[in-house]
């Protein structure tokens, strides 16, 4: 008998093997129990996605909070006369011209706006801005060692946004909102 004949015979014999075999015990009770336990629902993946987003936002917010909190402890707050430095982004990247201009305009008019505020309000604004700018300086410093660290980049963008938002609240001068495109 040739190899081909033997193979053909083997395949023919194999195709005659039973394809349907009854299990020795009924498997349905186990299946019924399993499918009854968690009700089959399509919202679970959506819920999981939403939970992931909430977790991400929570983690991001917590990081920002703790970063700013830490800055609060180590940064010497400038009591009066705010230090305005050119916005930077860790050395490797540059911030967009539009954002730089908007920030420059806001900073230039900030003194005028601050003069209109009560001494208490002015002190509070200056304190907050000092904290934010201190945080920006610290993050920029950290980014010199890790310019492509996405977490630090996001934190810096967020902190610049906070600075801009605070200056906007004081002056209400511009509608420009920083986005990642400004980097």
């Amino acid at each position: 008998m040739s190899q081909i004949d033997r193979d053909d015979k083997l395949i023919t014999a194999a195709s005659a093997l039973s394809t349907e075999i009854s299990p020795e015990q009924d498997l349905w009770p186990g299946i019924a129990e399993a499918i009854a336990r968690p009700q089959r629902s399509r919202w679970i993946p959506v819920f999981a996605q939403a939970a992931a987003v909430v977790l991400l936002i929570g983690a991001s917010s917590s990081l920002t909070y703790f970063a700013v909190k830490d800055q609060q402890q180590i940064i010497e707050v400038v009591p009066s006369g705010l230090v305005f430095e050119q916005a930077s982004f860790g050395g490797r990247y540059a911030l967009g011209v539009d954002y730089q201009e908007a920030r420059g305009d806001l900073a230039a008019q900030l003194d005028v706006e601050l003069a209109r505020l009560s001494p208490e309000a002015r002190e509070e604004v200056e304190l907050n801005l000092s904290m934010i700018r201190g945080a920006i300086a610290q993050i920029n410093e950290a980014m010199k060692d890790a310019p492509d660290n996405a977490l630090l980049q996001e934190l810096l963008v967020q902190t610049y946004r906070e600075e801009l938002a605070l200056m906007q609240r004081v002056g209400g001068l511009t509608q420009h909102v920083m986005s990642r495109k400004d980097i």
Binding site: L10, L17, A34
Partner: protein, 200 residues
């Protein structure tokens, strides 16, 4: 809301009469009902297909306990994925794919245990061979003694009639590998059967 509250039984009577008619359901009806989370319809599908699914699991694992677990897992997976079944292939084929995945997943998880089972099986008669008679029982025993990869391809290609393309997709291997494994399976089977003095 008020309209719903004031509706009487007679408003719904046509549907109620229809449901009370003796039902002659085909597979598509059961699938449609199961897709609407009807577990009784799914049980009917289970009864229709359990022998095919369990048979495949038993041929692929060569172990009763493993095959039972895999078949159960396959039906649980099928229930969870039922809304994705669009009828592009036969329901039995769709179930087979899920069953193959269940077997492969289980084997990956308990590789060491499988090896132990493999060794133990060498001295035992194949559980799948109970379904076969005469020379086929010998062949069934020999198939069960094949190495895992060769056995999977041989079972899908030679026993269940899937093409190399279909078998390779189910097993997550290249069609060339499927062909090579089949060649290996044939060679090993011929050796085994010859050694044992059987003429296939």
């Amino acid at each position: 809301m008020e309209a719903l509250l004031t509706a009487t039984a007679s408003d719904y009577s046509p549907q109620m009469v229809a449901l009370n008619k003796p039902e002659i359901m085909d597979e598509a009806d059961w699938i449609a009902r199961a897709q609407r989370s009807d577990t009784r319809a799914f049980e009917s599908l289970y009864r229709m297909h359990v022998d095919k699914v369990y048979g495949l699991c038993l041929r692929m694992t060569g172990n009763v306990s493993e095959a039972e677990d895999c078949a159960q897992e396959a039906f649980i997976q099928a229930w969870n994925k039922l809304d994705r079944f669009r009828g592009d292939s036969a329901f039995a084929t769709w179930l087979h794919r899920i069953a193959v995945n269940a077997v492969l997943g289980r084997m990956r998880k308990s590789k060491r245990e499988q090896d132990r089972i493999q060794v133990a099986m060498e001295t035992l008669s194949s559980p799948a061979s109970i379904a076969d008679t005469g020379e086929l029982r010998d062949l069934s025993d020999a198939v069960d003694r094949l190495p895992e990869g060769a056995r999977h391809v041989f079972v899908l290609f030679s026993v269940y009639g899937y093409s190399h393309d279909e078998a390779s997709k189910m097993l997550g291997i290249a069609p060339g590998t499927s062909k090579a494994q089949l060649h290996r399976a044939r060679r090993l089977l011929a050796q085994q059967l010859k050694t044992e003095g059987f003429e296939v």
